[in-house]
């Protein structure tokens, strides 16, 4: 069966595709940073609790991050909505199909996320009161977020490979996965290890802020967070090359000069990652953070480029028909601006209070 005959016809889009792609990449970047913190944070806390017993929350490393996880969870979900919306606008005909193939796993994300979210609260609220409950919650949360990442990796790889879609004709019950794909494992690990790195970085940032507000003895801690980041990022470089080599050779060539833009972005990302590792080992937080953000930006764009390569035979964003709604688009940007200002004002109010307290 010709796989292209299976690809659904897309609907028209109300603004140019590039605009949605920019919004998609921008919001996804924020989303993925929050997600990294939740997943990496869970794993670090789990590791810490398994290796260092009998510490109270305040004493432990977990104290810096456990209380932040529920809030980060909320923001990760919120910032997941936007890119999921924009990706549906551009690639809905692919992602709806692949989601249906794994419908059972895909919909299981929702109840599991609810459990994980509550577990994040229970973990921190019951940290001292009930070690067992707290630990069980942490385990549940960690397992769930790893599982969700697993499902997402399946979906993101299957949506761009229509040639595998005929599997539907032998299994329509919504339980198709894509684990046998050569890129599956490196892609999954590339994401999990990145999460550990970002969570390590966040811990450093938290300690840095405390340091700035006058808490003593933060310097070592800042460095320990940076160390987690640096080591994880070293591993990440290796996995990244594994991932690169796992993709079809045509695509590798595209990233190796055949497509100049793709090549520049990827190598910029790699170089920035090396820069981040170096500055982290040197204990320089601010440059490391800047490097990290730049690396994530480059890698998120590379991710989008890889998607375009996968789909290049069957679809290009230019194929989408435009039926403009510029008035509503303008309204969105106005609302977006007002929304961001409101958020900024609220955070400022909250921050003033926090500063007042520490002073």
């Amino acid at each position: 069966m010709d796989p292209t005959s299976l690809i659904p016809a897309p609907d028209t889009i109300p603004a140019p595709a590039w605009l949605f792609q920019v919004l998609n990449i921008f919001t996804f970047m924020i989303h993925i940073l929050f997600v990294n913190v939740v997943i990496g944070g869970s794993l670090i806390m789990l590791f810490s609790r398994l290796t260092r017993k009998d510490e109270t929350l305040d004493q432990s490393m977990n104290g810096t991050i456990a209380g932040k996880i529920p809030t980060t969870f909320a923001l990760a979900i919120n910032f997941g909505v936007a890119p999921l919306l924009f990706v549906q606008v551009l690639y809905g005909h692919f992602i709806y199909s692949s989601s249906i193939f794994m419908a059972v796993f895909w919909i299981s994300i929702i109840p599991l996320l609810i459990i994980a979210y509550y577990a994040a609260y229970i973990h921190v609220k019951k940290y001292s009161a009930s070690k067992t409950l707290s630990m069980a919650s942490l385990l549940a949360m960690s397992a769930i977020v790893l599982y969700i990442a697993f499902v997402f990796t399946n979906n993101m790889t299957l949506m761009v490979q229509p040639e595998k879609w005929s599997a539907y004709f032998t299994n329509r019950s919504g339980t198709i996965l894509n684990v046998s794909d050569a890129t599956f494992l490196p892609r999954y690990l590339h994401f999990i290890v990145a999460s550990v790195a970002v969570a390590g970085m966040l811990m450093s940032i938290v300690w840095y802020i405390r340091d700035r507000r006058g808490t003593k003895g933060m310097e070592d801690k800042i460095n320990s967070g940076l160390k987690i980041f640096a080591i994880a990022t070293c591993v990440q470089v290796v996995i990244g090359f594994w991932f690169l080599l796992a993709i079809p050779s045509d695509f590798i060539l595209a990233f190796m000069g055949r497509n100049l833009f793709y090549t520049i972005v990827l190598f910029a990302g790699i170089l920035l990652a090396i820069g981040a590792i170096i500055s982290a080992f040197l204990g320089k937080l601010i440059p490391s953070v800047i490097h990290l953000v730049a690396v994530v930006a480059a890698m998120v764009i590379t991710r989008a480029n890889l998607r375009s390569l996968y789909l290049s035979d069957v679809f290009s964003l230019n194929d989408l028909q435009l039926s403009p709604q510029y008035g509503v688009m303008a309204l969105f940007f106005i609302v977006f601006a007002i929304g961001l200002v409101s958020v900024w004002i609220m955070l400022k109010i909250a921050n003033q209070v926090a500063e007042r307290r520490t002073v």
């Binding site: 299976l6 690809i7 659904p8 016809a9 897309p10 609907d11 028209t12 889009i13 109300p14 603004a15 949605f20 909320a74 923001l75 979900i77 919120n78 997941g80 909505v81 936007a82 919306l85 549906q88 606008v89 809905g92 005909h93 709806y96 199909s97 989601s99 249906i100 193939f101 419908a103 895909w106 919909i107 994300i109 929702i110 109840p111 996320l113 609810i114 979210y117 509550y118 539907y168 004709f169 329509r172 919504g174 709604q325 008035g327 509503v328 688009m329 309204l331 969105f332 609302v335 977006f336 929304g339 409101s342 609220m346 955070l347 109010i349 909250a350 209070v353 926090a354 007042r356 307290r357």
Partner: protein, 884 residues
């Protein structure tokens, strides 16, 4: 057609959507109303300078955050996930039509969670001004998210001008936008009060707790006025046709209407209850129950709104089956399978019929129906129907009962789907047409003696209708009772013959073996209930038994015996729909027999109901209606019309259909707003009929050429003139009847999908009254001549009963059927049981089976040859259609 289909056959994708949505909608309304509740309650704390209130707000906020932000937020994402899995095409349409609406919604969501988190985490540290500001911002963002989502939700029900313009704002500010917004805002406030109790009942007992309970009651009760008022506005803002489909036609709405009303009353009573003192433990229990009732209320409302949209997912744009309305005609002509990207079968062959059916089932049924599942189970709904019934249901789907989409696709695809449902899902056998009846012709028929030379009288007798049916399901309902009417004219022979009315006594007697109909049918058990008279066994509604005297009627110019209760079941032997009566004319004074003949009283119980409704034949497996069939018919009637006929029948009180449905055939006036019986039956079933031409008629009437009656036995049937040449096709026939009832609302619905090729527009069809306005023979036989090729009797009705063939006379006062035979058995008739049987009198008097006097056999009555065609024009000729 565009996307793969998740085969979730038992639980059903729709159930998953419903489950997630109802939970989400409940909590999301709390998120909006609760925002105002937090803000205003906190404000009240400041105004009253009451720290206890702040303390309560702090606790409530934590509960509120855990419920709305975590559970509410994620179930919201969950709806999005599940609709994309179950209704990807509609989701894609909504996403693409309203991208920026969704994006704005997301911004508000971001503002909402930021505000709530700041409010919760910094509650004690924020000053009055900032805390109230943050609380207000939370409420504002939450309500604004309702402002957005309300536009999209109400769009799905009433897309309004968007259908023409595809303009964002036309869709957004659609006809139900504002009523829905005000309604939902009121609901949100009400639910805020409801959930206020949840935290208040856990406060320490005392004055403050009581005060807060009363406070929550105000939140619960005051907005209820808005819920009611805006609810009414909302209801009437929905176009009337949608309301009719949802609330009159769709039986699914019933339970949800009840849930909504009962839950409303209970919520109101709970508000009153919490305003008075009570024991804390009881209050906690009531609160727990109230939260559940609130969920039921919300579920009831949302279900109604969803059901109101049926058969669409986006009204008048996309069906629940993900097919755009604009694509239907293409799919009907080119087929669904060729256009369905994800169908494994593209062309139907005899081998892949069932597999193709499965694809069609997935494409057209699975979005609403489960297989042996909990919601709209297809097996429960279809297992009783045989193949022809399933075909009929598919054909009629969406035409009258507009809450289902029409079946889309070619005739071959419909057969494939029906085959899949019947064989694969229901494990039944396929029978494509009614089972043939092994009819054994009779060996011979006696022709009564007659001496042309000596006999002075000619006795002509006939049955008034040519076929009388009886429904034979007396324990359940009566359509027609056993009631055959026989008429006769006695002619005194001579150069100028006379019609004899005085000084003679005519009598009738049924053929041996048929004297005891009450042994075979239950009519007499129920006649008091169905006809209001307790009849003696074997006595009919005209007071006549199986033999007796005929009476002279001036109006008819002949003798008549009305409503003799003959049935086609003899005491011994085979089914016989043509029992004969012996008619004798005697001199009233001397008792001398003047003339004697035999006449057929055609009576059939071959009601084709079972062809589609299922069930077996009742009498010896040959004819008549079983309880099974009758019950199924009543079930359908009750479901569609909201009656309780089955329950009444089970209670021993069967009804006469014509109590409600007027019918000249039984002299019933019926109920004023209910369609007359013929219009209802033909109008309804014409919408579900898969057979064309006379085969359609034979699905119900005893005219099946392979059936046990084969009623159409007149000369017309020999020269290929079928039912439709006089009556029109079933659709045309129904249209004539419905036009006669056009003032009644249901007539319009039944007519909406019926067409006629004989007229330009349905308005040209002349209204008719069943039984009284019929096609006139002279429509085709103009001036009694041979009809022109292609002549049709349709759409020119007799003015009234006096013009009917069965009533009319020639110029000499002889009734038409006296010489030509009964309708549907016109001489020379050819009864399948015996070629002679329906021609007894012509054979008796003239030796041939042609009309009395045909082939210029004037001497039959006149004794001598005559010269003028005095009876009617064009009669002095040789029979055009000789029989050998």
């Amino acid at each position: 057609m565009n996307y793969p289909i998740w085969e979730i056959t038992t639980f059903g994708g729709g159930s998953l959507i419903a489950l997630i949505s109802v939970l989400h909608v409940y909590i999301s309304h709390l998120a909006v109303g609760g925002g105002a509740f937090l803000w205003l309650t906190d404000l009240k704390g400041f105004r009253d300078n009451n720290p206890a209130i702040h303390d309560y707000v702090r606790k409530h906020t934590w509960f509120f955050l855990l419920l709305t932000m975590v559970f509410g937020g994620l179930t919201g994402v969950g709806i999005w996930f599940i609709i994309a899995l179950v209704q990807p095409a509609a989701t894609s349409s909504l996403i693409h039509a309203f991208v920026f609406g969704w994006a704005i919604e997301w911004v508000f969501f971001l503002g909402e969670i930021t505000a709530l988190l700041v409010y919760h985490y910094q509650f004690d540290k924020l000053g009055r001004k900032n805390r109230l500001l943050i609380a207000f911002l939370y409420f504002l963002f939450a309500w604004l998210s309702l402002v957005i989502i309300n536009g999209i939700l109400s769009f799905m029900l009433t897309p309004g001008q968007w259908l023409k313009t595809q303009n964002f704002w036309d869709g957004f500010f659609n006809p139900t936008y504002f009523p829905s917004l005000f309604f939902r805002s009121s609901v949100a406030a009400m639910i805020a009060g409801l959930f206020g109790y949840v935290t208040v009942v856990f406060l320490k007992t005392g004055d403050f707790r009581d005060q807060m309970l009363k406070y929550c009651s105000k939140w619960l009760l005051y907005p209820m006025a808005g819920v009611v008022l805006f609810g009414i506005w909302y209801y009437f803002a929905v176009p009337a046709d949608i309301r009719q489909t949802a609330f009159s036609l769709n039986p699914q709405t019933g339970p949800f209407v009840i849930i909504l009303f009962v839950a409303s009353v209970l919520i109101f009573l709970a508000g009153i209850y919490f305003s008075v003192k009570s024991r804390p433990s009881v209050q906690k229990a009531v609160t727990f129950v109230l939260v559940i009732i609130g969920l039921l209320w919300m579920g009831g409302f949302e279900y109604l709104r969803e059901i109101a949209r049926k058969p669409y997912v986006i009204n008048q744009f996309m069906y629940s089956t993900s097919v755009k309305q604009s694509d239907v005609s293409l799919l009907d002509t080119e087929g669904v399978l060729t256009h369905a990207r994800w169908s494994a079968v593209k062309a139907i062959t005899p081998e892949n019929q069932v597999e193709a059916g499965r694809e069609l089932f997935n494409l057209q049924c699975l979005s609403c129906h489960t297989v042996n599942g909990i919601r709209n189970d297809i097996v429960a709904r279809t297992v009783e129907y045989p193949y022809m019934g399933i075909m009929a249901l598919l054909d009629g789907q969406g035409k009258v009962m507009t809450y289902m989409p029409p079946f889309m696709g070619t005739a071959a695809e419909r057969k494939a789907l029906a085959s899949y449902i019947v064989t694969e899902l229901n494990d039944n056998a396929i029978l494509e047409e009614p089972e043939p009846y092994a009819l054994h012709p009779w060996e011979d028929v006696d022709i009564p003696a007659y001496n042309k030379k000596k006999d002075q009288y000619l006795l002509l007798a006939w049955n008034d209708l040519g076929m009388h049916c009886l429904s034979d399901a007396d324990a359940w309902f009566v359509i027609l009772p056993p009631a055959n009417t026989i008429e006769a004219q006695l002619i005194k022979r001579g150069p100028v013959p006379e019609i004899v009315s005085d000084g003679v006594q005519l009598s009738y007697a049924v053929q041996k073996g048929f004297e005891n109909p009450s042994a075979h049918v239950d009519f007499w058990k129920y006649s008091k209930l169905t006809f209001g008279v307790q009849l003696e066994e074997n006595v009919g509604l005209g007071g006549l038994g199986m033999n007796g005297d005929m009476v002279w009627e001036d109006d008819l110019g002949g003798f008549i015996a009305k409503m003799i209760p003959v049935v086609p079941y003899p005491d011994e032997g085979a089914y016989n729909p043509f029992p004969a009566f012996t008619i004798e004319a005697k001199d009233a004074e001397s008792g001398e027999i003047l003339a004697s003949t035999r006449v057929v009283a055609p009576v059939s119980t071959e009601f084709g109901c079972r062809n589609c409704h299922g069930g077996e034949w009742r009498w010896k497996g040959v004819s008549g209606m079983t309880d099974e069939t009758a019950i199924r018919i009543l079930e359908v009637h009750d479901r569609i019309n909201g009656t309780d006929l089955l329950a009444q029948a089970e209670d021993g009180k069967p009804r006469l259909c014509q109590e409600c449905h007027a019918d000249p055939a039984v002299g019933a006036e019926g109920k004023p707003d209910v369609l007359n019986f013929s219009a209802a039956m033909h109008g309804w079933h014409a919408n579900y009929m898969v057979f064309d031409g006379a085969a359609a008629c034979a699905m119900c009437h005893p005219a099946n050429l392979k059936g046990n009656t084969r009623c159409a036995r007149g000369i017309h049937s020999k020269v290929d003139v079928t039912c439709i040449d006089c009556h029109g096709t079933l659709q045309e026939h129904a249209l004539g009847l419905l036009r006669g009832e056009e003032a009644k609302p249901s007539a319009k619905r039944l007519m909406a999908n019926l067409t006629s090729k004989q007229v330009e527009s349905v308005d040209e069809i002349n209204p008719r009254i069943p039984w009284l306005k019929e096609p006139d023979c002279l429509n085709c036989h103009v001036d009694f001549e041979k009809p022109e090729p292609g002549a049709s009797g349709y759409n020119q009705w007799t003015e009234g009963p006096e013009e009917l063939y069965r009533i009319r006379t020639d110029n000499a006062g002889i009734r038409c059927p006296a010489c030509h035979g009964s309708t549907h058995a016109e001489y020379p008739a050819s009864n399948a049981y015996s070629p002679l049987h329906d021609n007894i009198q012509p054979l008796q008097y003239t030796g041939h089976p042609y009309p009395i006097g045909a082939n210029m056999k004037c001497e039959a009555c006149h004794i001598i040859k005559m010269e003028d065609p005095i009876h009617h024009e064009n009669m002095m000729r040789v029979m055009r259609n000789p029989v050998h």
